[in-house]
C-alpha cells in the first residue's frame, strides 16, 4: 500500500496536469460548433479554419518575430552585462546586479502599465516594437541571471589564456567566452523565447494593429466559444512540444 502511494500520487498529478490540455486537444477535433461533451468527430474542420485565417496566421508571424527579436536583444544585453559584471570590477556591482534583476520581482502588468504611460505620453506610439521592448524588459533579468551564473572561474581562466596567447577583447568574446557559454546562452534564449511567445498582458497593452498570437487569441476568445480556439491552442501546443522534444533530444541529451 505504502509502496503504491507515490505512484498513485504521480498518476493523479499527471491527470490534473493533462486534464485541460487533453480536453483542449480532444475538442479541437470536434465536428460541431461547441467544444464541450459530447464529442462528435474527429474532424479537422477547425484546423482548416484557422490555417486559412489571415489575422491568426499574421499574429502567429508577429509572435515569432517579437519572440525571437526580443529574445535576441535580451540575451545580447544580458550576456554583455554579465560579462561586464563578472569580469571587471565595477563599484557597487551588487547594486547593479540587483537593478538588473529587479524587473523579475515586478508583475508584468506593472511593467506594461508603466511603459504604456511613458510611451503614450512621449508620443512614441504603440507597435510590435514597443511590445518587443516590454518583452526585453522582462526577459533581460532572466538572461542576465542565467548567463551570469554560468560565468565560472573555468571560463575566466580560458579567457585569460586566450588573452595571454594574444587574443584581443573581441576575439576573446567571440572565440572563447561565447562558445564556452553557449549552453547557458541557448538556455537563456530558449527560455526567453518561450516566455515572450506566451506573454499576454504587455503585448495587449503595448500593441496597436499588429498583435501577437496571445492577444489575437484573447480577442478570439472574446468573440465566441469555438473549437477554433481549441484548434489554434492545440496547434501551438503540439508544435511547441515537438520543438521541445527535438531540443531535448538533440541539444540537452548530449550534455552529461
Amino acid at each position: 500500500m505504502m509502496r503504491l502511494l507515490p505512484w498513485a500520487y504521480l498518476l493523479a498529478a499527471f491527470v490534473f496536469i493533462y486534464l485541460p490540455v487533453g480536453t483542449l486537444v480532444l475538442f479541437s477535433f470536434q465536428e460541431g460548433g461547441l467544444p464541450v461533451p459530447p464529442f462528435e468527430g474527429p474532424s479537422l474542420r477547425w484546423y482548416g479554419d484557422i490555417l486559412s485565417d489571415g489575422d491568426l496566421m499574421g499574429a502567429l508571424g508577429n509572435s515569432l518575430m517579437v519572440a525571437f527579436g526580443s529574445s535576441a536583444v535580451a540575451v545580447t544585453l544580458g550576456f554583455f552585462a554579465a560579462y561586464g559584471l563578472a569580469r571587471h570590477v565595477l563599484p557597487g556591482s551588487a547594486l547593479l546586479r540587483g537593478l538588473l534583476i529587479a524587473p523579475l520581482t515586478v508583475s508584468y502588468l506593472i511593467v506594461g502599465l508603466g511603459l504604456l504611460i511613458v510611451l503614450t505620453r512621449t508620443g512614441i506610439g504603440l507597435s510590435l516594437v514597443t511590445a518587443g521592448i516590454g518583452h526585453v524588459v522582462i526577459n533581460l533579468p532572466l538572461a542576465f541571471a542565467i548567463i551570469y551564473a554560468a560565468m565560472g572561474a573555468q571560463q575566466q581562466n580560458a579567457e585569460r589564456a586566450a588573452r595571454d596567447l594574444g587574443a584581443g577583447e573581441a576575439q576573446v568574446i567571440a572565440l572563447v567566452t561565447v562558445p564556452m557559454l553557449l549552453p547557458a546562452i541557448l538556455a537563456a534564449f530558449f527560455l526567453s523565447v518561450t516566455l515572450s511567445w506566451d506573454e499576454f498582458i504587455i503585448s495587449f497593452l503595448l500593441t496597436r494593429f499588429d498583435v501577437t498570437l496571445p492577444v489575437e487569441i484573447w480577442s478570439l476568445l472574446r468573440s465566441g466559444l469555438s473549437p477554433r480556439l481549441n484548434a489554434i491552442g492545440s496547434l501551438v501546443f503540439l508544435v511547441s512540444v515537438a520543438v521541445v522534444l527535438l531540443l531535448e533530444i538533440l541539444v540537452f541529451r548530449k550534455r552529461p
Binding site: 461547441l34 472574446r222 465566441g224 466559444l225
Partner: protein
C-alpha cells in the same frame, strides 16, 4: 496601397465584412478593437491627429466624442439614412447643433437571453421573475454597467432617461438582488459560453447579439423582451477630425451603412445585431432575418428604451456602484 485606421468594436473585425471594402478600394484597413467609450477616448487623446480615420462608438456616447472635438462633420446628404428604420436614425444622438457627426449602423437589445429547454419561458416575460429565487445560481449578468443598470431601472419602473443620483439607490437594490442570484458576470463571449455550455440558463443583458449566432447549433438558446421592456443599444460610426484621408474614411462609412455592408455587419462573427439600414433586408437570407426577428422590430422598438446617458459625474457614480455590486 493606402491604409485606413479604424477604432472599432469586435463585430467590425470579421474579414467577411472588411475584405470586400479592401478589395474595392485597394486599401488595407487596420482595425483596433476597444471595449468601453472611456478607453477609446483616452486612446484618441494620446494619439497624434491623423493616426485614426474611423471610429465606431455607442450611439449614446457620440456627444462625448463631439465635445472632445475628435469627430469630423459628415455630409448628411450623402448618407443613406433615408433607407434606415426611422426609429434608429437617432438625430438626437448623432447630430449636435445641426451638424451631423456620426451615423447609426447597427442596433439591438440588451434584454434576456435564455435556454428554453431549462427555464420556463413564461418566467422570462417578467423581469421580476427572471432574477427570482427560482433561478438562483443559473444566471449570468452581461458585464456592461449601462445596459444592465438600464434594465434594473426599467424593472423598477424608472425610465432610463431619468436615471439620476437619487435613482441609483433604488437601482442599487435591484442590482444587488440580481447579483446575488448570479453565478457570474460575463463579457460577450463568457456569457455566450456560459449559456451554450449550460453553465447558466439565463443571461441578463443578453439579446439577439448573444444568441443569434449560436442559434444554428443550439436552437434552444433564445431571447425575449419582457413585458417591462428592455434597453435598446445602438452603435454609430463617424470620421475622425484630422484624418489624412477623409474621403476614403467617408467611403468606409458609406460602405458600412450601405445594404451589403449592413447585411455583413448584422451577421458578423463577433455578434449579430439589426442593421440600421432596412435595405439590408434584401441581402439577408430569410433564416438570418428570422434569427434577427426582422418582423418584430416595430414592436420591439416600441417597447424598449435607449441606454442611460449619464453625465461625467453620474457616470462615475454608476461605475462605482457597478463595481461595488460586483465585489459585494
Amino acid at each position: 496601397e493606402g491604409e485606413l485606421n479604424a477604432l472599432v468594436w469586435c463585430d467590425h473585425t470579421d474579414p467577411a465584412l472588411i475584405e470586400p471594402f479592401e478589395e474595392a478600394h485597394d486599401v488595407k484597413v487596420n482595425l483596433r478593437e476597444y471595449e468601453g467609450t472611456g478607453a477609446a477616448l483616452a486612446l484618441l487623446d494620446q494619439s497624434r491627429p491623423g493616426d485614426w480615420d474611423v471610429l465606431v462608438i455607442d450611439g449614446i456616447d457620440v456627444f462625448r466624442a463631439v465635445e472632445a472635438g475628435i469627430l469630423a462633420p459628415l455630409p448628411a446628404d450623402e448618407l443613406p439614412t433615408a433607407d434606415f428604420f426611422p426609429e434608429v436614425v437617432m438625430e438626437a444622438n448623432n447630430t449636435v447643433d445641426g451638424t451631423t457627426y456620426a451615423v447609426t449602423e447597427k442596433f439591438g437589445y440588451n434584454t434576456i437571453s435564455y435556454n428554453s429547454d431549462k427555464v420556463d419561458a413564461a418566467d422570462m416575460e417578467s423581469l421580476s421573475t427572471v432574477w427570482s429565487e427560482k433561478y438562483d445560481g443559473r444566471i449570468s449578468i452581461y458585464d456592461y454597467y449601462l445596459p444592465v443598470m438600464g434594465l434594473a431601472a426599467i424593472a423598477e419602473g424608472i425610465p432610463t432617461a431619468d436615471i439620476d443620483a437619487e435613482a441609483l439607490d433604488t437601482i442599487g437594490g435591484t442590482l444587488s438582488t440580481m447579483r446575488s442570484r448570479a453565478a457570474s458576470v460575463a463579457g460577450v463571449v463568457a456569457a455566450q459560453t456560459a449559456l451554450a455550455t449550460g453553465e447558466v440558463d439565463i443571461v441578463v443583458g443578453g439579446g439577439e447579439w448573444l444568441t443569434a449566432g449560436l442559434a444554428g447549433e443550439q436552437p434552444e438558446l433564445t431571447w425575449t423582451i419582457p413585458e417591462e421592456g428592455a434597453v435598446l443599444w445602438s452603435q454609430s460610426i463617424g470620421v475622425l477630425e484630422g484624418s489624412e484621408q477623409p474621403d476614403l474614411a467617408l467611403e468606409f462609412v458609406k460602405y458600412i451603412t450601405g445594404p451589403e455592408g449592413q447585411a455583413r455587419l448584422a451577421t458578423s462573427s463577433c455578434f449579430w445585431g439589426m442593421p440600421a439600414n432596412a435595405k439590408a433586408g434584401d441581402v439577408l437570407s430569410d433564416d438570418q432575418k428570422a434569427l434577427l426577428r426582422w418582423d418584430q422590430q416595430p414592436d420591439y422598438l416600441e417597447r424598449t428604451q435607449l441606454y442611460p446617458a449619464p453625465d461625467m459625474d453620474l457616470d462615475i457614480e454608476m461605475q462605482d456602484l457597478w463595481l461595488e455590486t460586483l465585489q459585494q
